[in-house]
């Protein structure tokens, strides 16, 4: 669409001025979050209806604007709609709310009370989203711009100052100076390894060879982690800008973005961003007229967790099966096609422009001694406010889970938080005041990982959790090396036996013995970190393991083969609700006949437990004890009153 190629900083700044001048700060903009999570709530249809409504009323353009943005992070409350300039935040918006939202916005930005977020503790309705505790307690340096940006619109990014870091790097700094700045900032990789980014860049830069590569690792495989997805979907230019700056510092003219197969929206938004950046002369040959050439290829994964491991990822880019390579030479020295290759996580790249713009000293002012800056976590599990949160390193787990996450849902008790995905471990309550920091988490037997934070309550079985992660890893292991392939299989076998009531005393010792070999002898990090969930749950919750083994009891009532459902004859009022709802007809009884569960038919689906009216609470879960035989006399004597 015409040659918009910018060939100088002046032209970029000129464009920026132009874009800003065309945007009236007082014009209402109704943004709808269309990140993947909100899309599952139907937010795409909501946006469409909004756009249609505005068009129908002839309001588009000058009067009011509809914008589809990327993920805001408050995923528990989606679909999320934020109206600018007032920053009115509506949550759990439905399709039928749209006409009212439009008319209220036109009506001088009137607030629709019922759509506002209500603080569960105070009962207060909060209008502006920065005031919502979930957002207020975060430091959304990297992620915050998502709410302003339509990812298919490069102008939105430029309007926010986008690509100013790139132009500063290209024209005001030498590659060495850029490298020094990143080194000085002590930025550590956000993908899980926590390796000092500046040092990795330097190793790549200094490695012999003319051709060097830079890579974005968007394989994000940890179950429950979706920070990278939301960043790539919602603000792809931030990642791209960081990548180009890195390529400049390292001396690379070819970049790759490896996106996992399961992120189609991220891929399509990324491709749009690449195309638009190219059109604007911000990517490709002679970027901004600086003489620096750099281009990007997008490579899609094929559905394997292990191909997120850096040597496996590079092998996949070479066109081979994504399996880790057994090499002791760093991929920064010999990577793709044996050329120096610098791989960083999506979030790491997105942090780079901030550092260049604000300086390493500014960055070091945030965070702890060993971990600088902010980190995006996906806070999920048994917490009230699930979503993506960005906090400064050093904030405690308690603050994240309770102040931002809103505490444990349904008033249950916190038990543990699992960090680092399948490579990480659990952190129990006694360490809940641990600051979020690479080294602190490792010391406690877990790791930061890519940012997954799964909150667990009293209803979570830690043995089952370990089994879950081992099962995941057994399926995702590439199978090349013996310790990982066979070791994880045997550990899973033992854990399955334990959760199904066949555990024996010697199992824990055998488990620890196998774990030691898997940890020390596996070929890649998938294997060497695979025992972590087991080892950390054993460390902090050994009693649960022992209960499963010695008493055949699951304290959390999760492991189905170890629990039985029993209707307390003293409490049952023969209301027939559970009898009717039981999917396998295991409950016998009648209007005045106390209900009894046939243990041979019961599938432990939990339905009767859930549907028994709370005032009766007659259904009990038993574990580690035999089910009492049915009472002989089942005629009900109704309670008075």
């Amino acid at each position: 669409m015409g040659n918009k190629g910018l060939s100088s900083v002046e032209e970029l700044e000129g464009l920026r001025k132009e874009i800003l001048s065309k945007r009236r700060p007082d014009k209402p903009v109704i943004t709808v979050c269309t990140g993947t999570a909100c899309q599952t709530y139907g937010s795409l249809e909501i946006y469409q209806k909004l756009a249609d409504q505005i068009k129908k009323q002839g309001l588009e353009g000058a009067v009011v604007e509809a914008k589809a943005t990327g993920c805001h992070g408050f995923c528990e409350q989606g679909p999320v709609v934020v109206i600018f300039p007032q920053e009115i935040c509506y949550v759990k918006v439905k399709l039928e709310d749209i006409p009212e939202i439009v008319s209220a916005t036109l009506d001088q930005g009137r607030v629709i009370e019922r759509l506002l977020y209500e603080d569960p503790v105070t009962g207060e309705k909060i209008t502006k989203d920065p005031d919502i505790p979930f957002y207020k307690n975060q430091m959304r340096l990297v992620f915050g711009n998502n709410r302003y940006i339509n990812p298919s619109e490069i102008d939105d990014y430029i309007a926010l100052g986008g690509y100013s870091a790139l132009s500063k790097a290209l024209f005001k700094m030498t590659p060495e100076q850029v490298l020094e700045e990143i080194k000085k900032s002590n930025l550590r990789g956000r993908g899980g390894g926590g390796f000092p980014t500046g040092i990795k860049w330097e190793t790549t830069r200094n490695a012999p060879g003319e051709i060097k590569y830079v890579i974005v690792n968007a394989d994000e495989g940890d179950p429950g982690a979706y920070m990278d997805r939301s960043l790539l979907e919602g603000n792809p230019h931030s990642v791209l800008e960081g990548l180009i700056i890195g390529a400049y510092a390292i001396g690379s003219s070819q970049g790759f973005v490896y996106v996992r197969q399961e992120y189609p929206l991220a891929v399509s938004n990324l491709n749009v961003a690449l195309k638009q950046a190219k059109e604007y002369g911000l990517l490709g040959e002679n970027i901004l007229g600086s003489g620096f050439d750099f281009d990007v290829k997008v490579h899609r994964g094929a559905g394997a967790f292990v191909s997120g491991e850096s040597s496996a990822l590079m092998t996949a880019i070479e066109g081979k099966v994504g399996e880790p390579r057994p090499k002791y030479i760093r991929t920064a020295v010999k990577g793709i096609w044996d050329r120096p290759s610098n791989l960083n996580n999506v979030e790491t790249w997105a942090t780079v422009p901030l550092i260049i713009n604000n300086g390493a000293d500014w960055f070091r002012g945030i965070g702890t001694e060993g971990s600088k800056g902010t980190k995006i976590f996906s806070l999920v599990g048994k917490v009230n406010n699930t979503g993506l949160v960005e906090v400064p390193m050093g904030m405690t787990l308690r603050e994240i889970i309770f102040n931002i996450g809103g505490g444990i849902r349904d008033g249950k008790k916190f038990k543990a938080v699992q960090t680092g995905g399948p490579s990480g471990g659990v952190i129990p309550e006694k360490f809940i005041d641990l600051p979020v920091d690479f080294d602190e988490l490792s010391k406690a037997g877990s790791m930061m990982g890519s940012g997954g934070m799964i909150v667990m309550d009293e209803d979570t079985c830690m043995v089952d959790t370990a089994r879950y992660f081992l099962n995941f890893l057994a399926n995702e292991s590439c199978g090349k090396c013996v310790p990982c392939r066979e070791g994880i299989k045997q550990m899973l076998d033992i854990l399955t036996d334990i959760t199904e009531g066949r555990g024996e005393k010697k199992d824990i010792e055998l488990l620890e013995e196998v774990a030691a070999t898997v940890k020390d002898f596996s070929l890649c990090a998938l294997g060497t970190t695979a025992p972590n969930p087991v080892l950390s749950t054993l460390k902090y919750f050994r009693d649960e393991y022992l209960a499963h083994i010695e008493q055949k009891r699951c304290p959390a009532y999760v492991c189905k083969p170890l629990i039985s459902y029993y209707i307390d004859p003293e409490k049952c009022q023969a209301c027939m609700i559970c009898l009717r709802q039981c999917p396998v007809g295991a409950i016998s009884g009648g209007k005045n006949q106390i209900h009894v569960i046939d243990q041979t038919k019961c599938t432990k689906c939990n339905t009767c437990f859930e549907v028994c009216p709370p005032r009766f609470s007659a259904v009990r879960r038993l574990s580690g004890e035999p089910v009492p035989p049915p009472v002989k006399d089942r005629v009900l004597v109704r309670r008075k009153g």
Partner: protein, 505 residues
């Protein structure tokens, strides 16, 4: 060169070599399963893990792909290493409890019965097969498919491969015998048959032709060597410690000015397939005398066991047919001179190995002209259960029930036509001047006589002189004769040549 220590022993090595290679060169044993000197290190079995101390840091690394460094301290059997190896072997044994190699390795580390549930696989997923197919043969007919517990060696789409070249390298390197060629291709591999063993056993493309070869150095058969056929492989090069393998070697043409030539080009064996009535090549249990010799030889493919081709049974009734192709108007008119005696020797050997074996020699007339040869024949009859039947059989057929050959012949003394069913038949085939005899004779303009032997004009007084002065011929190339006679003629030819050369000066 770098200096390092392995288990306390100081060693030096070239930079860039791997710890495992250095250890092997210094006779320090590190167990391996997926390592092969001609393939890229794979790092899959993890058995070769050693503990290193590098710049103050203790680490466990696989020795097959960790390059040596100056000052490296390597421990191949520290406690941590042994523990890990034990567990790896225990895990492997649980997967493959019936594979002898794994059983032995595990046993050597004290593991008899794994503490895990047993499976019954025989593939340890070492990848040697797939790797040799890709890296050395350049074919990639098989590879790994599936991930994790589903991982296995397979062909694309699990069907017979069209590109498999049937070289059998995969089955050869497989340490457990899990790879079967018939699972990969429906091509039948054509075995390379050892010429020295008369086709009774296979040999490889690079081979020492026979134990007494001069020089006793392997040669590469360019007609069947994969490298010469496809440009790939070259695996032998990786094993030769002397670096002696040279694929570019060409025939050397040496020009020499000589004063005399001795032709001693020897004999070839006549192919008895030409005598269709005897069924050689069709009836399994009809073999040649040369094949018999290799079978009965203690250093042959059977180590001296007489096992008939169809079912490996030891024959109880063995027949020898003389003059197969010799003294025959349809084939060779002359007598090959040595067959009567070698048949007798062979019959005696058979009875010596198997005392209840009876041999029958069907002869035209017994050519026992050497010293004490007739006594030898008499002893065969009297002490070794050899029966001589004067007859030239007309045909050999096969009993379909047991694959026994049936000999049809006329008893010339009794004048009866009859048959004899035996377990195995040895055809004493004719011997002919070797192919090179004619070639060289043509080059030298030497005449051949009617029987294609080098012509000796004056057999009485100049038994080794050819028609051309200075050119002498000895041995079978000029007349059928046995070893002692050939040796005498060789001495004679040498003496004649020396005389001739000295006279020239």
């Amino acid at each position: 060169m770098v200096n390092l220590t392995i288990d306390g022993k100081a060693v030096t090595a070239e930079e860039g070599t791997y710890i495992l290679q250095v250890a092997q060169a210094n006779n320090i044993d590190i167990p391996t399963l997926c390592y092969h000197p001609a393939l890229e290190p794979f790092g899959a079995c993890r058995l070769c893990t050693v503990e290193i101390n590098s710049r103050g840091r203790k680490r466990l690394v696989t020795s097959c792909n960790y390059s040596v460094e100056e000052g490296l301290e390597v421990s191949t059997n520290s406690e941590a290493v042994i523990k890990g190896r034990r567990m790896i072997l225990e895990l492997l044994l649980a997967r493959c409890p019936n594979v002898p190699l794994i059983q032995e390795l595990a046993k050597s580390y004290g593991i008899k019965k794994p503490r895990f549930k047993l499976e019954d696989d025989n593939c340890i997923l070492c990848g040697l097969c797939a790797r040799i197919c890709e890296e050395r043969m350049g074919v990639s007919a098989i590879s790994f498919s599936g991930r994790g517990l589903e991982r296995k060696i397979d062909t694309p789409f699990h069907i017979h491969s069209e590109i498999c070249q049937g070289c059998g390298a995969c089955a050869f390197v497989c340490p457990t015998g899990a790879i079967k060629l018939e699972d990969i291709t429906d091509k039948e591999p054509r075995p390379i048959l050892s010429e020295f063993n008369a086709g009774l056993s296979p040999r490889s493309a690079i081979y020492v032709p026979f134990p007494q070869a001069v020089p006793k150095v392997p040669v590469i058969d360019r007609d069947v060597c994969i490298h010469f056929l496809t440009g790939n492989c070259r695996t032998c090069e990786n094993f030769c410690q002397a670096g002696a393998i040279n694929y570019d070697q060409e025939d050397e043409i040496i020009e020499a000015d000589v004063d005399a030539i001795i032709l001693a080009s020897g004999f070839d064996l006549y192919d008895p397939s030409a005598l269709e009535e005897y069924g050689y090549g069709k009836i399994k249990n009809v073999i040649t005398a040369m094949q018999y010799e290799r079978m009965i030889s203690a250093s042959g493919p059977n180590e001296g066991r007489l096992e008939r081709p169809s079912d490996g049974k030891t024959p109880k009734k063995l027949a020898f047919i003389q003059c197969v192709g010799s003294r025959d108007t349809h084939h060779k008119l002359y007598c090959s001179s040595v067959c009567c005696m070698h048949a007798t020797k062979e019959a005696i050997l058979a009875n010596e190995h198997y005392p209840d074996l009876k041999a029958f020699i069907f002869y035209t007339d017994m050519r026992a002209v050497g010293k004490r040869f007739q006594e030898y024949i008499a002893r065969a009859e009297q002490e070794y259960d050899v029966t001589y039947i004067r007859s030239r059989p007309s045909k050999i057929t096969e009993n379909p029930d047991n694959e026994n050959p049936i000999i049809w012949y006329e008893e010339t003394t009794a004048r009866t036509r009859t048959t004899m069913e035996v377990d195995m038949v040895v055809l004493c085939q004719a011997m002919i001047p070797s192919g090179s005899t004619k070639e060289i004779s043509d080059m030298l303009h030497l005449s051949l006589n009617d029987y294609q032997f080098v012509d000796i004009p004056d057999r009485l007084f100049h038994p080794v002189d050819t028609e051309i002065p200075g050119i002498f011929a000895c041995g079978f190339c000029q007349a059928p004769q046995d070893i002692p006679d050939s040796v005498v003629q060789a001495s004679a030819a040498a003496a004649r040549a020396a005389e001739f050369v000295s006279r020239k000066d």
